[in-house]
């Protein structure tokens, strides 16, 4: 991955408290796994920034090297890689996700 891509990714990763590299957009996810993570974040009412990797092939491939994680989606909280779809779903089910977000000072309001 060239330096330009690395710095582009790094600035995206740090451009918000919660950043989701995904296929498609939060309103129109274009992959079931990306949609699943969007659903979890919406359910917890957590504001997040969606980065559509389909818009930029360099980011789509570079993000896998950046986190040494081979798939999309990838969730970052305060610049730290948290996981892909499986891990986010598992953390949500065990309550770890809510706890982790709160300890990072991110307000969570579970939708009724």
């Amino acid at each position: 991955m060239d330096d330009q891509t690395r710095s582009k990714i790094s600035s995206e990763v740090n451009s918000g408290d919660v950043v989701l590299f995904m296929k498609g957009t939060p309103v129109f996810p274009q992959c079931g796994f990306s949609a699943a993570v969007v659903q979890v974040l919406n359910h917890l009412n957590v504001p997040f920034k969606g980065v559509n990797v389909l818009d930029d092939m360099a980011i789509r491939e570079g993000i896998k090297e950046y986190s040494s994680w081979p798939t999309i989606p990838q969730l970052y909280v305060k610049g730290e890689f948290v996981g892909g779809c499986d891990i986010i779903r598992e953390m949500f089910e065990t309550g770890e996700l809510t706890e982790m977000l709160s300890t990072h000072g991110i307000d969570v309001q579970i939708q009724a």
């Binding site: 040494s68 994680w69 892909g84 499986d86 891990i87 598992e90």
Partner: protein, 79 residues
Amino acid sequence: MPMSAGDIERFIKEALPDADVVINDLRGDGDHYSAFVKSAAFSGKSRVQQHQMVYAALQGRMGNELHALALQTAVPEDA
């Protein structure tokens, strides 16, 4: 060339010889599997690290020949 459940299990067991591995073919297309992997090698590792160990065992096939692997990892109680 899609992967077979047997290939996935073999790669994982080559890297994690003690692992219990259960593979389910989710769609019968050789591209969408779920895997449950239990190994003592995961002990003390975060979930992300555990999953990365399984992906490393698949030697770059994850996200290429293998489009989707719903993964769950665990550590044996006595580990």
